[in-house]
Symmetry: C2
Subunit: 393 residues, 2 copies
């Protein structure tokens, strides 16, 4: 007990602040080129369209936008989102729970399903903030061995048999942190195991629409039988803008009701202003055209980073070339510990995220995550020069 | 396990949807006069000021408003909020954690402090949604006997000695559901006990500025020694507008860091658009004048409801006349069960909230909560006529 009498709950003894967000607070300095955060380039935001959307809402729907509203979300937004999901998966507005960004969605699913000690199976490595959200709900995270196509089916089946998880958490498109995408054949193999064992799936898909090349792969939720067994999560953060904090969950059946009750407890409803503005944007603007513009820019930046980094890396290193998304993943190999290099890198004026926090267990300390979306190719080139200096490649 | 494989967590076996929100979903029908929800009158919102604030933000700060931001909240908003709190209690921007409405604040405090089985002491009766938020964190809620001035000091001291609670939750101004306010002398007696026993306080004050008559009473957090031992919570919902989902917690020391880590896990940050718009509103508009306008209108409505209801009530009934806030509390006495009358009332075209859900234990089934703020005096009069018919007074 400290002088104030506050005794923190034990969950805070184990759950730490996100290392990524702590790094971000350090690299806010103008002179540091950041490859650290998954921060969209604000210069690509459709600021005029969003200004028009908010203007419409505050002019024509002000009393409603400023008032309390229902917990599942505004009908217009749920309908717009359902229509977009309908391109790949039959979806109605009633299947949608609006969330205050994807992070709240992860938290709500964890709260709906997890008791202390329950197991969640995750990829190796996996998305850091999901680990944080599930851990706060008391979960034990178990990694499933993965290759360049995602979780290995045999390993997944064995882990399900051993741990009887409450659910499996996957990011099948341009995964954070690795950038890898699960091919259709792997998705079919994974779905077959999930269906056979009755194991639910939380399919997190914030990046899927940000594809630069190659063909889209349908979500696991769209495979036969999987829709009722999957919570599918999307977000406005990567395709439109993160500052409005709009995400959504697609689900069917009783879990939707649990998600709604959880949402009541965590915050009653998502900001009505932002819900109506995003709904207006989706109804009146061309999101596909915007995404095409962003994907073209991000694709060039991916090339700038991959092509600039490859010749610098040591012979032990492995680097992928993701077909979309925001992140590169480098396995430097050997004895290098990227966390130990990070302070030198920041001194040299460049930031990245060491790979170890993305592992639920057995981290590979030679790994690092590099975001290629925030900076232009010129700035990327300068950042890589600094990176090479810090690593002494 | 249902067909989908989803097995809900046990916390959802005990925590139900809010009865208030379920009633609200029923009474959305135009022909029902609702005294049920704590819904501000949207006709009193400063829609022009908020339209101008959002227009400024989306015109001059668009890239920032649409981007990710820091977890504690936007500096301008934290500074505006701190300046306002400074009227009663020395506060800096660093003491503020912005939340997505008060409900998220309640949830974050519960998550920061509560382990399964921990006790929270609450008033009898107390705010329903707080019960929900603390229960989801695993708490056991224990009621402290209360009179018209709030919790009874001797009973509070005895409950602290018996239960060693993690914290005490109080709504000292115009409490939800009873409308009662704790006088200064009672606050001093309560603070003395909390200080002597080292028991933290969550002081929830969404209504304090909505005072129609009488003199303001300083928050318990402003009493000597209490600031470091209290989390003080306010919100934009009752004084400005609920749709923007902006609330804030004032705290000091290590608990602020736990609240920030919890906020990361639950949603990274509150919508930047709304944070900047509320900050702009506070910096450029006259909130005091707005509150004076709203208080004048709500004061008339309180009188319309109290004066209209008193002659209708049975001789066994007790009714208060709150000096502010949004709610009346009626104890009808006798054998009446307000929950059983509610369906008849809705058939008659009027809604209220039965009192029983507001009790952590031993509910008085003859009680009911009536909101006087949503409707004009004429509509209130018609609603009371319908209410008398339903109760067969």
């Amino acid at each position: 007990m400290n002088a104030s009498g506050f005794r923190l709950s034990t969950r805070f003894a184990e759950v730490k602040s996100s290392p990524v967000r702590d790094i971000l607070s350090v690299v806010g300095r103008e002179e540091v080129i950041s490859f650290a955060g998954g921060i969209p380039d604000a210069n690509l935001f459709e600021t005029d369209d969003f200004a028009a959307a908010f203007d419409y809402v505050l002019t024509h729907q002000a009393k409603r936008a400023l008032q309390y509203a229902s917990t599942p979300g505004e009908p217009e937004l749920r309908e717009q989102v359902a229509a977009r999901l309908n391109r790949q998966l039959p979806t109605t507005a009633e299947d949608i729970q609006v969330t205050s960004g994807s992070q709240e969605g992860l938290f709500l699913v964890g709260m709906a399903l997890l008791d202390a000690g329950d197991v969640v199976l995750v990829e190796q490595p996996t998305y850091l903030a999901a680990v944080q959200a599930f851990s706060l709900a008391g979960a034990r995270l178990v990694s499933v061995a993965s290759d360049d196509a995602g979780v290995l089916p045999d390993e997944l089946a064995a882990a399900i048999a051993e741990h009887r998880p409450k659910f499996v958490y996957l990011v099948p498109n341009f995964q954070n942190p690795t950038g890898r995408t699960m091919p259709a054949t792997r998705r079919e193999a994974v779905a077959e195991i999930l269906l056979r064992t009755g194991t639910p799936l939380l399919e997190d898909d914030p990046y899927g629409e940000l594809r630069f090349d190659g063909d889209p792969v349908a979500p696991l939720a769209a495979l036969p039988g999987m829709a009722a067994q999957t919570v599918l999560q999307n977000s406005a953060s990567k395709t439109m803008a993160p500052g409005v904090r709009i995400g959504w969950l697609r689900a069917e059946g009783p879990i939707l009701r649990a998600l709604e009750v959880g949402k009541q407890a965590v915050g009653l409803q998502t900001a009505v202003t932002d819900q109506l503005a995003v709904a207006h944007y989706l109804a009146n603007c061309d999101l596909d055209a915007h995404i095409a513009k962003v994907a073209a820019a991000y694709g060039q930046r991916r090339d700038a980073m991959v092509d600039g980094l490859l010749p610098l890396l040591p012979a032990t290193a492995k680097l992928n070339r993701p077909e979309g998304g925001m992140f590169l993943w480098a396995e430097l190999g050997g004895t290098v510990n990227t966390a130990e290099v990070l302070p030198r890198a920041i001194d040299a004026g460049v930031a990245f995220v060491p790979g170890w926090p993305f592992y639920a267990a057995d981290p590979d300390h030679s790994t690092m995550r590099l975001s290629f979306v925030t900076n232009t190719p010129d700035v990327i080139a300068e950042g890589l020069t600094r990176l090479a200096r810090a690593f002494d490649w």
